[in-house]
Symmetry: C2
Subunit: 750 residues, 2 copies
Amino acid sequence: MKRILLAYTLSALCLLPVFAGGGEGSLPISYVNPFIGTTNFGTTNPGAVCPNGMMSVVPFNVMGSEDNKYDKDARWWSTPYEFHNCFFTGYSHVNLSGVGCPELGSLLLMPTTGELSVDYKEYGSRYKDEQASPGYYSNFLTRYNVKTEVSATPRTGVSRFTFPAGQSHVLLNLGEGLTNETGAFLKQVSDTEFEGMKLLGTFCYNPQAIFPIYFVMRVNKQPVSSGYWKKQRPMTGVEAEWDPDNGHYKLYTRYRKEIAGDDIGAFLTFNTTEGEQIEVQMGVSFVSIENARLNLDTEQSGKNFSQVLADARMRWNEDLSRILVEGGTEEQKTVFYTALYHTLIHPNILQDVNGQYPAMESNEILITNGDRYTVFSLWDTYRNVHQLLTLVYPERQLQMVRSMLDMYREHGWLPKWELYGRETLTMEGDPSIPVIVDTWLKGLRDFDIDLAYEAMYKSATLPGTENLLRPDNDDYMSLGYVPLREQYDNSVSHALEYYIADYSLSLLAEALGKKEDARFFYNRSLGYKHYYSKEFGTFRPILPDGQFYSPFNPRQGENFEPNPGFHEGCAWNYSFYVPHDVKGLARLMGGQKPFIEKLQRVFDDGLYDPANEPDIAYAHLFSYFKGEEWRTQKETQRLLQKYFKNAPDGIPGNDDTGTMSTWAIFNMIGFYPDCPGDPYYTLTTPVFDKVVIRLDPDTWGSDKLVIETKRPSAESLYIREMELGGKKLSRYRISHEELIKGGTLRFILR
Amino acid sequence: MKRILLAYTLSALCLLPVFAGGGEGSLPISYVNPFIGTTNFGTTNPGAVCPNGMMSVVPFNVMGSEDNKYDKDARWWSTPYEFHNCFFTGYSHVNLSGVGCPELGSLLLMPTTGELSVDYKEYGSRYKDEQASPGYYSNFLTRYNVKTEVSATPRTGVSRFTFPAGQSHVLLNLGEGLTNETGAFLKQVSDTEFEGMKLLGTFCYNPQAIFPIYFVMRVNKQPVSSGYWKKQRPMTGVEAEWDPDNGHYKLYTRYRKEIAGDDIGAFLTFNTTEGEQIEVQMGVSFVSIENARLNLDTEQSGKNFSQVLADARMRWNEDLSRILVEGGTEEQKTVFYTALYHTLIHPNILQDVNGQYPAMESNEILITNGDRYTVFSLWDTYRNVHQLLTLVYPERQLQMVRSMLDMYREHGWLPKWELYGRETLTMEGDPSIPVIVDTWLKGLRDFDIDLAYEAMYKSATLPGTENLLRPDNDDYMSLGYVPLREQYDNSVSHALEYYIADYSLSLLAEALGKKEDARFFYNRSLGYKHYYSKEFGTFRPILPDGQFYSPFNPRQGENFEPNPGFHEGCAWNYSFYVPHDVKGLARLMGGQKPFIEKLQRVFDDGLYDPANEPDIAYAHLFSYFKGEEWRTQKETQRLLQKYFKNAPDGIPGNDDTGTMSTWAIFNMIGFYPDCPGDPYYTLTTPVFDKVVIRLDPDTWGSDKLVIETKRPSAESLYIREMELGGKKLSRYRISHEELIKGGTLRFILR
């Protein structure tokens, strides 16, 4: 099999800003390779989606055949697509990109030919000629000789199937999908339209994080026959003898009213001529079937497949063009723009075209003013994604903060890991605080900061039993840390997140003139020191009696095995994660020299995990110390080169809704926001010769930020000199305000 | 366990006609024992229902425990209740009475206490103190100390649960039920109201006979908690480890939007005080949830349990009082009124209070003018039920015929075994023809007889491939009989039904002046002679080459084992079933004497099956022959006494929506319509001294029909003399018109 990165001719897009960099006239969109991250557990996918769109249409290839290397039901599996799999069972509608738990990925739409089969273990097909570009995916089903193509609007999908002559089918499978939740209903509204609901949820095995997706599906040709199917429950004895459908998929050939069940679907059969194209539209909503229809009618009204695709590509190119790069290799540009593409998938809009959305943890339907965002993987994205959005897409970041505050209004809590109106409580900490504080301190302030402060103060101070976000707040508040009360309670990880959140909160309190609060939370943020074990030189869990946990192995947890006190990692992955008090941590560790040596050892001894969040800003910590900045430059360039590639395995692990991609973006353009909540960046060596970030003048008072790099040779790695706004710069950490006001950041390498 | 036949004090019913018979002042309703027929495969049930009501609320005791003797999943089982079972798992809403295939019996409502369990294998309870009377059933759940009571309006049910102090629950199980069809959706509309849909169908294993039931359930107390449950599909491997609900019933404690699946339910938990009563209302519709709510709002508006019950009892007493009997034993009165009660359950209304109903084999919703009836088990009921309705409930019979004609308008075919808008095609023949002809010939003529004739002519003459009702019409029309083309194709049974239908059609053609048609169908109705085997003296299947089927055993099929040519019976059960040409059959069998001797042998040698329809009019055939009428009188009395009792096994087999019960009714009052379609009755010995049938004067020109019997002693069995309208009567077969005009039929026994 050969996947083609589609170099789409953009004849219809002449109005778009043309990418001037590199002299080749290519558009940013042409540098996106949606196959990057589709193996190596990157969990991205090559499906069609619009920027921050609700809808994505993704080739689903993770079930139904032993020929697949990765089967969703045979292992822990969190993505609808795997590059090395080969058995296609349809297009899933509405999917997550770059997450670590299975969810969504349902409404499976499959074209077949010949005799009708509705069993996905039978009807799947191998494929070839995969092509993907933003807003487009295509393949060719070798079993059926059907070319399939998909595209999307923000809330709807469209598939175009090119059939051979004969009997052809379109199947909609509601029984399977990536989600572990089952149950759906379906109704045939007319010969060419079906509507229904599929239950989703149980994300990261939170059994109550349940929500429905509503849909309307339409085909543009009258079928010769159609109906439903449902897997029948197995019977025994006499009953089984009498019922030929017992345990099988039964076809409902005459019944047309609502059908419901765990494993149901719809089929449409057509007589097709050679090369005949049938288009299938899918509108969705998280509010109602009526809204799904309204979304479909609004966004695809009068548009055929080609027009929908042209629109999607225009949206992407506009968004990607906010950062224009020159220099660098074709590979680097592809890594860069694909990373930007991945970063713009989530959070995505939740509201329908009429503004309705399902309120947070509620049965109410509300109407939003502006976009309502969902899919907040905040334990990941608070580290860098929102900082990138603040700088480059401030209108979206501001609206995301407003969405977070609306969640507080509706639910009483800021989000932790919000998914389609459900608080899934995945991972730990209080990550909304640094996101909102960072946004405010950088100057995006058109939201109710008093309400935000109230919300933050609530989770920071309420007792644990009443505290959804900080369930171990009793210990934390009374002891200054969280002791290990259960073998695998991730207590150290929890506390480290609280320290960072409290530090952010202290910055905001200070900015709001709440001196006492500021001091209180700042002091609390230094409680990390409790965990430092001189014996091991790392953080170490503390037992309820105040003693360190023993026996202790700081490398335990390296390979995702359970580890007392630490979540998804070993003590080394966490022991430098005090970004708000790096100097204090260094003192604790014996001063600059031991700190630097130990930190370097983390990289040299393979104790650095590039695939998970706690240590991803380790490389930047060197730059806190005069004379050690070269190590930041060396490590960020080394990590970029080693882990970020124009290849399916070109992301080191779960992209985490763009967090890994954003790590690459910032480090490729020369600065990184290493302390969430604190409006500062650490500077490092860019890979491009010139980067132009198109700024929103109303927000930043300037229409661009330029990063220029003079590179004596292709191997030049280290920064020799820097200028900001034409003035020499000798510090390697600068504030957001300095950067914006400087306007041009110039690196001269050596 | 002791079941009590509830002698309900009818203080609220003083306006009702008081039953004058027997001198004890008891109302007819007080003679109904709903436990009759609830074992011995009578398949009746003791649940609460109104006459011809859509709703019935039935104690469901056929699943979930090995303590039950009859389990719905362990064998062929067609009724929600069995007298000898002991494990109660709730009340099923909308049920069939007296049928032989499992269907309906869903929306299972169960009260429990203590810790919440939603697994029916766990939450069921033994019970005691069963009580039942028309419109009422009650028991006491010994495990929970909960008294349960149910009643019904025509389209809604109500349950009253008397709880002990503590935590109490109301469960609605949509995953189980008598139907073999699965799938439901459910939505909590408010703290006290749920709505949803359950899929029903696959009646008698017709896989396409599928229809939905919609419902709205309301409780009259605010629960302290509520939610859904759904059985999770079993997972394997890592997934199974991560999901604690894997393969179990998961509780959905916060989700409140639609849920759907194969095995779902709703729970409501209450804090109850000792003796606290909670009422649960259930409205249903076969059109929509909105109509289910409308039905509930209309029929139970402002009414509590007691008022609903009083209404139901009033309806029953009014209907049962159309026949008043005097004399006879208490047992005989109980058998009689219970039989009348059973006969008035089906066909039942299908339309909602706004007149809407699902059109026949269609997705359309239509509005009926007058009642739209459903549940036409016509292979059974064409024999006597519709004749009883014509005489005593002519307004209903007329409306049933109109419903049948509307089905023809909607679907193109008169019904065969219609069930909630589906033609299930159960059993054989063309049974609408004798029903409609019988009705017309007796004088109920306010329907479109030309359309009816068109419909009958269609099924009687269309080729088999186009003929839904007579699939073997090609053979039948060309040969005059149906040869055996498959081992168990029931070919003789099919043909015998066609002969009877054709005879009826010939009578109608004659009445309509269509002489040629009349002669044609009459001649065809005599084709039964092909099947007569002199060798065996019975009917015998014929092979396609014209030879009789060999080897042949006329007793094969006695015990419901498959039998070539005959459906549910042996050759003996069918060989006298030519009611339209008894004398011709007698000639074929060698004349009166051999005929009578052979017929008597059927009874004497145990070749008569009292539990299935083909031979149930055998006893009346004696009366076609002068001097042999005493045999009819003897056998009908003997069969009544042997098979119809005031006991749970007091019906000889499936009641067949009242057919067996109607057999008892007619024979107990002294006449029987032994030739469907032919407006004649055979007279036999009544068991009562006086029977007053209150006639509709507008229909019959008289307000009553009186049957008086002088009985020299209690043992008097045979008829010595008869008078009709004061004139001596010497014939034992009289026409319907003679009977009505006579006004009083007097028997003097010896």
